[in-house]
Symmetry: C2
Subunit: 321 residues, 2 copies
């Protein structure tokens, strides 16, 4: 929720001149995206999102992200599509930053998802997983289960500031997840961040998915586990099994879940909760004074983690195991 990089009207005009998109009508910095700077750019040919990639994003990953959007759009997924310049490049530079323009998607994200929204998201996630097949590039998940302990080490001494005893609990969790993490599950391109603010709806229908900047190759069921955390807890952090059932049914209407994936859901959901708790914990403890963003409470994910830890099997998610 910040605009980190600004540019002059002349710099913008020079950037736009490389594309076949007409002339600038307006360009407004928008309060979306924590990692990058985003502008809503309107030209005489249409509306676009202009993204300037900030330092937290590895430039070497950008061809994967932009190529994935091209690949998905060509397979019928409603998502932003990179605009290529007259030389065919989707990636250029503006104001000293790598920059890309993508098509604009109508829609609003829902603050309080209903079971119907969850069902639509489950279906869209499965469509995304199917459409990702055959994409030529790969990207390792920098925040998979092997990345959690190094991340925790960076806030190790201070986790108990957030909640007494939290450090010991995280360490026990890391031991267990590292020992028991499933392997051999069906894998492919996952979104890895399909939270409500990355899914647009229009008149009750899902209108598109955005923000592919955490996408990577990993177990497909791990993506479902992230969505169970992101969509199926109420604001009081109670778990809503009706929403989980809707999400999983929506998914299974498109892609068959294997036995091994269903069995793995509780540990995958537990890992996903820990992953988001750890990045929030890191941000919480390292946010600079005067920062432009308010860090999110890591304990929201501590409570989710405790829910997943307490269940026996995937039946708790409304699935028939």
């Amino acid at each position: 929720m910040a605009v980190y990089t600004e540019f002059s009207d002349e710099e913008l005009a020079a950037f736009i001149a490389g594309y076949d998109v007409g002339e600038v009508r307006f360009c407004k910095g928008i309060a979306e995206g924590v990692e990058n700077t985003n502008y809503l750019l309107a030209t005489t040919t249409g509306q676009y999102i202009l993204t300037l990639y900030e330092r937290r994003v590895d430039e070497a990953d950008l061809p994967f992200f932009l190529g994935l959007m091209d690949h998905l759009a060509a397979r019928g997924i409603s998502c932003p599509v990179p605009v290529h310049d007259r030389d065919g490049n989707a990636l250029n530079r503006l104001a000293g930053r790598p920059a890309a323009m993508v098509t604009f998607l109508d829609g609003v994200w829902v603050r309080r998802p209903t079971p119907d929204h969850c069902s639509a998201v489950g279906k869209a996630l499965a469509d995304f997983h199917m459409a990702g097949e055959g994409f030529g590039l790969t990207r390792a998940n920098a925040l998979d289960h092997t990345g959690w302990r190094p991340l925790y080490r960076q806030c190790e001494g201070r986790s108990d500031e957030v909640r007494p005893g939290l450090g010991a609990e995280i360490e026990a969790e890391l031991d267990l997840l590292e020992a028991g993490w499933p392997d051999g599950l069906p894998a492919g391109v996952i979104h890895a961040d399909l939270f409500p603010d990355n899914v647009f709806f229009l008149r009750g229908e899902l209108s598109g998915l955005i923000d592919f900047y955490f996408a990577c190759n990993d177990a497909l069921a791990y993506d479902i586990a992230i969505c169970l955390n992101a969509w199926c807890f109420e604001t009081d952090l109670s778990f809503n099994i009706t929403k989980a059932r809707a999400l999983l049914s929506g998914y299974r209407a498109v892609r068959r879940l294997e036995r091994s994936e269903i069995d793995a859901l509780p540990i995958l959901a537990r890992g996903a909760a820990l992953r988001f708790m750890l990045t929030r914990l890191y941000d919480w403890l390292t946010v600079p004074d005067g920062a432009l963003v308010t860090p999110k409470d890591p304990l929201d994910y501590y409570k989710r983690l405790r829910f997943h830890r307490a269940i026996d099997n995937a039946a708790a998610y409304g699935i028939d195991p």
Copy 2:
């Protein structure tokens, strides 16, 4: 440059339902406006700016601001026009804040104005002054020369943190301006904040004026003095007389300046520089830790003030006195 107030998609839909503007297509918080929260709202009938008025704005002033935009638009000024709901109200509430929707203006603001831009702004300011005649509501200038000393008192003890000796210089300036401030100049509705970010251009032509939230009744020439400060200094804070001449010529092509107004320009410009220095000084000294905005350097206006103080008469602005 901040979004202070957020709302759910249901709250937005309920708000919109009171207007004849169709259904929401999207709604993006935009990084514009320090005082208020602004969203770019698109519906099936068009694009609008949706403003939520935050605590710094006095609700009692809102009918003046919104009525002024209606009045100006009806007289041919290109500016945002309030959208009235089905009951004829331009002002409603959203997420607990007073809120209004205005029409959207295409254009971008220029970071580095040329003399041509200054000429266009001078003309637009005069058009604005002429169009303001006959507007039925009035609003005193809360930041006129009688408001500067109370504002200074709030940062009195700390001004020397910004520059040694600044406090004594401000006090001497206040004494002089209070004693010599001109009265009886032609008065009317002034914009009072016509900085480059409030003037849009499209393909080199001025496409509109925005942000009427400092508008008030005061000497028209004081508005010109604000523009001299806002448009005619380079980034190194040197004064560009070519730009000033262009701005004043543009203005005079529309509205005749009286002898008294021309003679008063140096002291008005000096007062305008002090006024912006004082509000910046106040913000600089009172900005809370973790604020969402970076305060602007008050010394930019100290340097402008010193320029105006050193001149004999309006000839220094490229005008023939």
